[in-house]
């Protein structure tokens, strides 16, 4: 019966304010897409190692995996985090809740449709999603929704002072649609080959830096301080972290075309400006650590805090590797190899879930009035598997990329491979194959971590022990 089902769903989502139910819906759908994306990422690694055994090519599975992990998980989950934090930081009801709900359903459906279009051979093949332009355009409309909701809410704000999270939220919701629209233009039929290629790199790097890192780290500033109950260490460090992340946005995309057919100045600019990425990540990670200075012994008591802190340092490692690979001398060896695949997998399988967990694990229990069941053990399991799994994939693929890149150089120098362009495998031998196989093993561990994440989210909502629920209330005398 429709009414009772509606009531059941409302109860499952916590029965609190409408905006809180919308936030929980985002968390649940995001967790589902994380698991789906993790499974596809594992298949992608398998198809890379055993290409002739795979029913669908690596080129298509990887695009589907990226779509699930970025649009399905990262965009959805972090948007939920924004809807959770914003009313609490502004003192205003979340505006346009119906639009927020519509945006969630639209993005969820279009993400699935985009993945199916790629699976059935209708994709355009461009990184990171390969979604054809006629699905890209409606997706571009749905990613405007968080911006509309955020700005409508900010317009009604009661709290006139801006906590640092507000900057990161504003940056994320402005950059996301701009990024998507410009990159969609690059995939339209009139675009030239350079625009296609740089557009794909721009979108991939932008999604990682302008959305996942920016919003993930910004929301964690809220969750960390709220959970631990100590003031933020430095607003200035947060500002440095925020603007550096924005500045670093495009460069790991452009760096992959070093010495390519683009203008020569891009190589130098990408190398120099790419340094902003580890600087931005480090500024935020250091700020978290300074905030926790006298509370380290209690960190494990707070769900999500350990995940967020570990995720921030993971970002420093990934950002440093990306900056390293952007220097022309290194890029001449590692561009086009699995080195960059390792960085992208680490961002999607490690960074994104860890930073998202930093907020989601803190928020979901409060929103539904339930405790994360056995939270210390579950969260520890998620952290361990994600760090080991995503870290292992990163190390294996980076090593394989370095080995194959230098093999190409060595082969060309020795004239042993007069036709080196005939194959990556021929030039690199079995060592790279073995490293990819090791990456597959770590991919399995990473997938277990993604199941652990989903277990925390779904387990809390369905079986968590009742605890005081955090409910938004209008202040006495406030108008609607």
């Amino acid at each position: 019966m429709a009414t009772s089902r509606s009531s059941d769903i409302r109860a499952l989502l916590g029965g609190g304010a409408e905006e809180d139910q919308v936030a929980v819906s985002h968390f649940l759908i995001g967790a589902g897409y994380l698991v789906l994306g993790g499974i596809l990422a594992l298949f992608a690694l398998l198809s890379l190692r055993f290409p002739d055994q795979s029913p669908v090519s690596f080129g298509r599975i990887e695009l589907m995996s990226n779509t699930a992990l970025i649009l399905g998980f990262a965009v959805t989950t972090l948007t939920g985090g924004i809807y959770y934090a914003l009313p609490r930081l502004t003192g205003a009801r979340l505006a346009r809740v119906g639009l927020a709900r519509l945006g969630l359903f639209g993005l969820t459906g279009l993400t699935g449709l985009g993945m199916l279009s790629v699976a059935f051979g209708y994709g355009d093949g461009f990184q990171p999603f390969g979604i054809p332009w006629w699905i890209d355009i409606p997706i571009a409309l749905t990613v405007f929704v968080p911006a509309l909701v955020v700005f409508a809410t900010l317009a009604n704000r009661v709290e006139q002072r801006s906590y640092v999270t507000i900057w990161f939220v504003i940056g994320g919701v402005v950059w996301l649609p701009l990024l998507y629209v410009t990159s969609t233009l690059a995939s339209l039929p009139f675009a030239n080959s350079l625009f296609d290629a740089f557009g794909g790199g721009f979108l991939t790097a932008g999604m990682a830096n302008l959305w996942i890192l920016t919003v993930g780290m910004g929301l964690f500033y809220y969750s960390l301080v709220k959970e631990v109950g100590v003031p933020l260490a430095s607003r200035q460090l947060a500002a440095a972290g925020f603007w550096s992340l924005g500045f670093a946005a495009a460069w790991w995309g452009a760096a992959q075309f070093t010495f390519g057919p683009g203008p020569d100045w891009v190589d130098g600019v990408a190398a120099a400006f790419g340094l902003a990425l580890p600087i931005g990540a480090l500024a935020n990670a250091a700020n978290y650590s300074l905030t926790l200075e006298n509370s380290w012994e209690k960190v494990s008591e707070y769900p999500g805090v350990t995940s967020g802190v570990i995720g921030s340092y993971f970002a420093v490692v990934v950002g440093s590797l990306a900056a390293f690979g952007s220097f022309p001398s290194i890029a001449s060896a590692v561009s086009l190899t699995s080195f960059w695949e390792g960085i992208e997998y680490a961002a999607l399988l490690g960074l994104a879930p860890m930073l998202a967990a930093g907020t989601v694990f803190s928020a979901v229990g409060r929103l539904v009035g339930r405790e994360i069941p056995d939270h210390q053990r579950r969260v520890r399991r998620f952290n361990a598997m994600t760090v080991v799994g995503a870290g292992g994939v990163l190390i294996s693929l980076v090593a394989a990329g370095l080995y194959s890149g230098y093999s190409w150089i060595g082969g060309s120098n020795s004239a042993a491979y007069t036709d080196v362009g005939e194959g990556w495998a021929q030039a690199s031998g079995t060592t790279v194959g073995t490293l990819i196989l090791i990456a597959v093993g770590f991919g399995v561990v990473s997938l277990l971590g993604q199941f652990a994440y989903a277990g925390v989210v779904f387990g809390t909502v369905t079986t968590g022990k009742s605890v005081p629920q955090e409910v938004l209330v209008s202040r006495v005398g406030d108008d609607e």
Partner: protein
């Protein structure tokens, strides 16, 4: 004494949520669920409720933050358990005074007075700068028209084949881009910025920018169908012809390997 259902009906909240919250509230207050339900149902306050169940996080934390004795209006109220008043109506607190901080803890989520719209201006400006440097600038062809071009002459079938190349995800493993560096020696002529091939971003398989000079159509068809360790693609005859035509036409001027 009010039962769960009547309280739920009054509050407009599902009964199981009310029940669960009443249990949690009773445990926190050291009383019974029945008393809590009675209070929520209009039978009086839960007098034994400890203050810890309500806390208010107001901003302030930094330099210009007010002292804790004069906190800013709360941006967030934590109420345990569910606030009986359904949103969005302004609601009186179920018990106590939920809008007054009672924890004695200094507020920690502190901001400063500023204008978020200036942040909007800044992030748009930064995006435009990064866009111009990271996407628009690099995408403008720079090579002067000269003796050589990387634009290959594509027939109608070749153009359709290039679309198929994208549809099938070939660019996930193959580049069509030769760089003037040692690693790319022997692949073919260096790719110039007027190229109309699909550059790609990974080279897990061979570079295909000059494949038309290296393989015959029959060899290509065999490989695409699953030969030489290549993933098998099941294409119709027409599609296979188009893809092979594109690859055969991928032979830029300047010589082979």
């Amino acid at each position: 004494m009010s039962d769960v259902n009547s309280v739920a009906e009054k509050m407009g909240i599902p009964a199981d949520l009310v029940s669960r919250s009443a249990d949690a509230r009773a445990a926190a207050a050291g009383t019974t669920s029945a008393d809590v339900l009675s209070a929520w149902g209009g039978g009086g306050a839960v007098t034994s409720a400890p203050p810890e169940v309500e806390s208010t996080e107001a901003p302030p934390d930094e330099a210009d933050a007010p002292t804790s004795s004069q906190p800013e209006p709360p941006a967030e109220t934590v109420v345990a358990p569910p606030d009986p008043a359904p949103m969005p109506a302004p609601i009186p607190a179920p018990v106590g005074e939920p809008f007054v901080p009672t924890t004695g803890e200094p507020p920690v989520l502190v901001g400063v007075h500023d204008n978020p719209w200036s942040i909007v201006t800044g992030v748009i400006g930064l995006f435009v700068a990064v866009l111009l440097l990271g996407l628009v600038g690099p995408s403008i062809p720079v090579d002067e028209p000269g003796a050589r071009t990387s634009a290959v002459a594509l027939t109608e079938a070749g153009l359709a084949g290039r679309d198929l190349y994208g549809n099938l995800g070939c660019a996930g493993c193959h580049t069509q881009m030769v760089r003037p560096i040692i690693a790319d020696v022997g692949i073919g002529p260096v790719t110039l910025s007027d190229t109309n091939q699909v550059l790609g971003v990974r080279r897990f398989g061979p570079d295909l920018s000059n494949i038309g000079n290296r393989m015959s159509g029959a060899q290509m068809e065999s490989t695409i169908s699953g030969g030489a360790g290549h993933p098998a693609s099941t294409l119709s005859e027409g599609s296979m012809d188009q893809l092979v035509t594109y690859l055969l036409e991928s032979a830029p001027s300047g010589g082979g390997s």
